[in-house]
């Protein structure tokens, strides 16, 4: 099976998941006690009825669902109940680039720092470097994003005035640094631990000893024989890592005042803005499906056993 067919098959497999997500989100929001207009100051019943009719909320659920899905297929996520001047689509479109930049930046930074850290720790096993890296890593996993973010903002932004703590001026890269670093830290920590454990385990494999017995220098054994095998679990982790980054972006965007999707989602949740919340969740779900697919592709590419089976 060629790569294209593989991708197509996985995408097809993702459709039921997406369908479940859309259906579940929709059902949950519609079945909720109370409606989106409950928290307004007491509206006269006629006005409320008009509002609900305008938003199509007086139709039976099945009809509402049908209209919603139809809208989705057109790329229309419906109107935001709270930000009356904007549609959800517009809010998503404005926020997506920001969130993507921050998220991608964090993931790349995490890969660039976490994997080498893990490798160094594994090679220095039991030694000083190893213990330092691993303790930092446990700390990194234990300290949540919403603690690190204010702390970093405090130290680097307010006390040292090195970096701006809020705002988003397009093109001003220093705005990006703090959010990206904050978001990357727990992933760096986890990747370091994962890489170290995986590499140590791989180095115990009999074929590593056999490679050395053939006279291959340590560097070659490490780079060509050990690392590709050791990195497989790391690749598998990329899916959950992306999910963690997406979740963390909610906090980071809120704290650093970034106009990304995450902040909109949080606002929507606080305002009980159903369409906004639903729309955001669907976009996030799609993002995760795509990222998981990419991770699977990378894994299959690295592991020849899977590649060969696909071709058979």
């Amino acid at each position: 099976m060629s790569t294209l067919a593989f991708i197509a098959r996985r995408l097809l497999g993702a459709i039921p998941t997406l369908a479940v997500i859309v259906a579940l989100s929709f059902l949950l929001t519609r079945l909720a006690p109370g409606g989106p207009f409950d928290e307004e100051q007491a509206l006269p019943p006629e006005i409320r009825a008009n509002l609900e009719a305008a938003y199509g909320l007086d139709q039976p659920i099945a009809v509402q669902f049908g209209r919603y899905v139809a809208g989705l297929l057109r790329g229309d996520f419906g109107p935001s109940f709270k930000f009356r001047d904007f549609t959800v689509t517009e809010l998503i479109a404005s926020g997506l680039p920001v969130s993507l930049v921050i998220g991608a930046g964090a993931l790349l930074l995490a890969l660039a720092l976490g994997i080498p850290a893990g490798i160094c720790a594994a090679l220095a096993r039991g030694g000083f470097t190893d213990r330092v890296v691993m303790t930092l890593a446990v700390a990194g996993i234990s300290v949540p994003v919403f603690v690190v973010a204010p702390l970093l903002a405090l130290v680097l932004g307010i006390w040292l005035h090195w970096l701006p703590v809020a705002g988003w001026a397009p093109g001003r890269w220093s705005d990006v640094v703090l959010p990206v670093v904050t978001l990357a830290l727990p992933v760096i920590a986890y990747l370091a631990r994962l890489t170290r454990g995986s590499l140590l385990e791989t180095l115990r494999a009999p074929w590593i000893r056999a490679a050395r017995a053939r006279g291959l220098p340590r560097r070659v054994v490490l780079l060509r024989h050990a690392l590709p095998a050791a990195l497989l679990p790391v690749i598998s982790f990329l899916g959950p890592a992306a999910a963690a980054v997406l979740a963390g972006s909610l906090v980071v965007e809120t704290i650093f005042g970034l106009p990304g999707m995450g902040r909109h989602l949080v606002q929507g949740a606080l305002n009980r803005d159903y369409t906004l919340v639903m729309g955001m969740v669907i976009v996030y779900a799609v993002l995760m499906i795509v990222l998981n697919l990419l991770a699977d592709l990378a894994y299959a590419w690295l592991d020849p056993r899977i590649r060969r089976e696909r071709r058979a």
């Binding site: 998941t17 479940v20 700390a139 603690v147 405090l154 919340v277 969740v281």
Partner: protein, 282 residues
């Protein structure tokens, strides 16, 4: 799991001083959370108009200072600890019960039932957890109960997977065969023979689940979507602290420090438990 494995595990743990230290700290924190507020002078919502935003150790009675509304920080933090711990333990328990039952059944039944049950797990697993919990809070209102159920509703998935894997291999063991031959019913076999032998990985995973739940709950409370004011949770205390950090950094430091300590100790203990119970490292 054999008695020998348990004995070795306990021995290894007893030798691991850092793990024991973590256990001690956790016990201490739990005791503080449960009993602490009674021993202190102030109530958690009591406003001390004379002592707003005072630093730790500067005023009698307010050991760790007060927040901007004059509420004693130590008491509020302990209350927050109580809430976070309660939700975490309850949600973990829910996850445990559902996950172990589901996984043990699936692993034992094998075949079609297993495939179906794990398919269900797979589909739910692919849903973005945090976001769905958010939806649930939007729908059912924010508060401890929603949070508990929402988090528990996702927490059981990984537990089910782990338990199922174990159950699959346990199923092949002789004592299960003996039970089957002896005419025991499925429920009895699963309950009496399979589940007790899963305890090792289940305990490890439960210990590692608690900090995850604490983090999710704090995360949501921080954003304002979880535990609501005036009820204190470590998450929303940290949010308050973040707002005040320039002028009164202790309002952030105290609950943040408490949270980090709590999560670190659970993670470390869970790791040590896992290493102790892993037969491969012998």
């Amino acid at each position: 799991m054999s008695a020998g494995l348990w004995r070795d595990a306990v021995r290894q743990l007893r030798a691991d001083r850092l793990a024991l230290a973590c256990l001690a700290i956790l016990v201490l924190l739990v005791l503080l959370a449960v009993a602490g507020p009674w021993l202190l002078d102030y109530r958690e919502d009591e406003i001390d108009w004379d002592n707003m935003a005072v630093a730790p150790f500067s005023v009698d009675g307010h050991w760790l200072g007060t927040d901007r509304l004059g509420r004693d920080l130590l008491v509020r933090t302990l209350f927050g600890l109580r809430v976070s711990l309660a939700i975490a333990l309850a949600a973990t328990l829910v996850s445990l019960v559902i996950g172990v039952s589901w996984g043990a059944m699936a692993g034992y039944l094998r075949g079609r039932s297993d495939a179906l049950m794990m398919r269900f797990v797979d589909v739910l697993y692919s849903l973005p957890q945090v976001f769905f919990v958010i939806i649930l809070t939007v729908v059912f209102g924010r508060g401890p109960l929603t949070l508990l159920l929402a988090i528990g509703a996702f927490g059981w998935l990984t537990m089910a997977r782990i338990v199922r894997g174990q159950a699959l291999s346990l199923r092949e063991r002789e004592f299960v065969e003996a039970a089957v031959v002896g005419g025991a019913g499925t429920l009895r076999i699963v309950g009496r023979h399979i589940v007790p032998n899963l305890l090792g990985p289940v305990i490890v995973y439960a210990t590692l689940t608690v900090p995850q739940v604490i983090l999710v709950e704090s995360f949501l409370s921080f954003l304002g979507i979880g535990i609501q004011e005036p009820l204190a949770s470590l998450g929303n205390l940290i949010a308050d602290g973040a707002a005040e950090m320039e002028t009164a950094p202790w309002i952030l430091a105290v609950p943040a420090g408490c949270l980090v300590l709590l999560v670190f100790c659970f993670n470390f203990l869970g790791d040590s438990l896992r290493d102790a119970l892993d037969p491969r490292d012998r």
